[in-house]
Amino acid sequence: MKLKTLALVASFMALPIAAFSEPVKVGIITTLSGGGAGLGIDVRDGFMLAVKQSGNTDIEVVIEDDQRKPDIAVQLADKMIQSEKVDVMTGIIWSNLAMAVIPSAVAQDKIYLSPNAGPSALAGRGCHPNYFNVAWQNDNLHEAAGAYTNSAGFQNTFILAPNYPAGQDALTGFKRQYQGELAGEIFTKLGQTDYAAEIAQIRASGADSVFFFLPGGMGISFLKQYADSGVDLPVVGPAFSFDQGILQAVGQAAIGVKNTSQWNKDIDNPTNAAFVETFQAEYGRLPSLYASQGFDTANLLLSAMAKADISDRNAFRAALKEADFHSTRGDFEFGNNNHPVQNIYVREVIKEGDVYTNKIIGVALENHVDAYAADCQM
């Protein structure tokens, strides 16, 4: 009896102390194995770099690998919510996984910060106060590619993307801005590795340019096969088709290609310069846009933690929405649907010494708001 009382007293005494520091538990579910692993590893490394630099000990991170499989992502999310009791979730790369996990996580009052996937279904009518996208709405970079294609004077473009939510968003986004004719439109299989059939159709279509969205290993395969096929039409794409992880494997074939991105390592601000330098020092490779998104996601979270307590969800959401942090992109601001309002740049692939990388050559869309923001009632 005495022991029980003592334990009770001890636990009462422990409570206020725990409430005082109130650590935030973050669950990262991302792709760390299989074909899309490079993207998830970059997001994770960017996120952990920001956490490490902050020196903040009130943040506890749990990391799990979804293997790019929606069913596994759902199991991991359940585990994180029910047994790990995380407060904030982040990390998902692929939009089909995002659609399987995010709606139920935010409905269970978890905050979700998307470091990459931005499916249209979560930006418009399906927007949610607990859901913040730190990267972009899926259509954005493709809209910018469409705008660039107009300004470059192409009239008859052939477009292709994988058949999954982000692929459909990609082609929709491209067509929203692009004013010329379509020489053809193809949906490929997600994870497809051989594009000979598609390249033959491009050759036969009489197009004057090609727009493609093929992230990760898909882009490497496509570009290598395209370069070898003798089709020499100019290609345009979003940054996903030409990110830092892909370029080294594509090699010479990518030089001179134009692509659109919200970030590049040469955006001129002190946060970005420090990020590029410290990321390289820590991991021994150049950061990709995915790494910058992971880094920004962590800094956004840390900025909100400094202002509000996670147990007060309303205050915490308001603190997140203010986005009072130094982004690698310069100024960072959320629109009404908790998606970024930002510049999207045109980049060109160049070779710096032995390394293939990108350089900004212009702005495709300025302070761009996504097309679904108006549908969001929040």
Binding site: G34, E185, R203, S221, K224, D228, G230, I246
Partner: protein
């Protein structure tokens, strides 16, 4: 639809088919001769590609890279046969599936340990890169033509090996009656190791050849493995001829389906939904083909037994 596009797609289908054949030939031999379901066959494909990428990176020679792929995959195959697979012949298929699935995980994680998660660089050699013009004005990449050539040459070689050599006789005998050839004094366990290593070497060769036009990365073998199983089901288990015909059928169906289905749907739908519906149906076509073959001939096109 122009003739050139059609001809190019037929070549693409053929090229895809012969690469599938290299994978499925080993799989069907192992299944036919030893009665073993080897899910780890895709890992041997991956090992071939990684060995080729590593050697090409060190020496810059594509021929050496191909030889390294053959040697590495054959060595890995022989090692796995002696250490693990040998214990599985008398077990039922479920045990084999479990054990070889474990091998996939071990190979994938092991490769990730050594090479990391980012795709490796394996390029087409200069003398095989670029397109050539075929009769009829068809422009086609030289490398893919070479792949078709190599695949068909391997098919002929395998056919001769099986029908003309002593080893081939033993393999065929092993397929029809395992106990009897053991009783006749053939060293069955040595035969099994040889067959397994041969199948592994072919898978490794396919991995290296395909790796040069795709990306060399962990997990690259599994999607091909699924198709290889479809091929041996269509062709008939244990039949090299079935594997060849099945591979080319699957290759052509997949490639031409991707071309014709969206065009077919476009006749009565708008372009964008036709593209979606057409590509969805096209990706199902090979499984529909497999179902039809199984209904008409339950043991596959050239299968000896069900």
């Amino acid at each position: 639809m122009s003739f050139i596009l059609f001809a190019e797609q037929v070549l693409n289908g053929l090229q895809f088919g012969v690469m599938l054949f290299l994978m499925s030939a080993g799989l069907t031999l192992v299944f036919g001769v030893m009665g073993l379901i080897n899910l780890a066959h895709g890992s041997l494909f991956m090992i071939g590609a990684f060995a080729a990428a590593a050697v090409a990176g060190l020496t810059g020679s594509f021929v050496l890279a191909l030889m390294a792929a053959l040697a590495a995959a054959a060595a890995a195959g022989a090692l796995v046969e002696v250490l693990v697979i040998r214990r599985l012949y008398d077990r039922d298929h479920l045990d084999q599936v479990l054990a070889t699935f474990a091998l996939i995980l071990i190979f994938s994680e092991g490769t990730r340990w050594i090479f990391g998660s980012f795709p490796l660089f394996l390029n087409i050699p200069d003398y095989l890169s670029g397109p050539v013009t075929l009769p009829g004005g068809i422009q086609y990449p030289l490398y893919r033509l070479t792949l078709i050539g190599i695949g068909l040459a391997v098919a002929v070689g395998l056919f001769l090996l099986i029908s003309r050599t002593r080893l081939g006789i033993q393999i065929r005998a092993g397929e029809s009656d395992r106990e009897m050839i053991a009783a006749l004094g053939v060293d069955i366990s040595k035969l099994y190791t040889i067959v397994f290593a041969l199948g592994a070497a072919l898978a490794g060769l396919a991995g290296a050849l395909v790796g040069a036009i795709q990306s060399v990365q962990v997990g690259m073998g599994e999607p091909v493995l699924i198709l290889a199983f479809v091929v041996i089901v269509i062709g008939g288990i244990g039949s090299i001829k079935g594997a060849l015909i099945g591979s080319i059928l699957v290759g052509l169906t997949d490639t031409l389906g991707g071309l014709f289905m969206p065009a077919l749907f476009a006749l009565f739908m708008d372009n964008s939904s036709a593209a979606t519906a057409g590509s969805a149906l096209a990706s199902m076509l090979i499984y529909i083909l497999m179902a039809v073959v199984l209904i008409v001939k339950p043991s596959g096109l050239f299968g000896a037994r069900a």
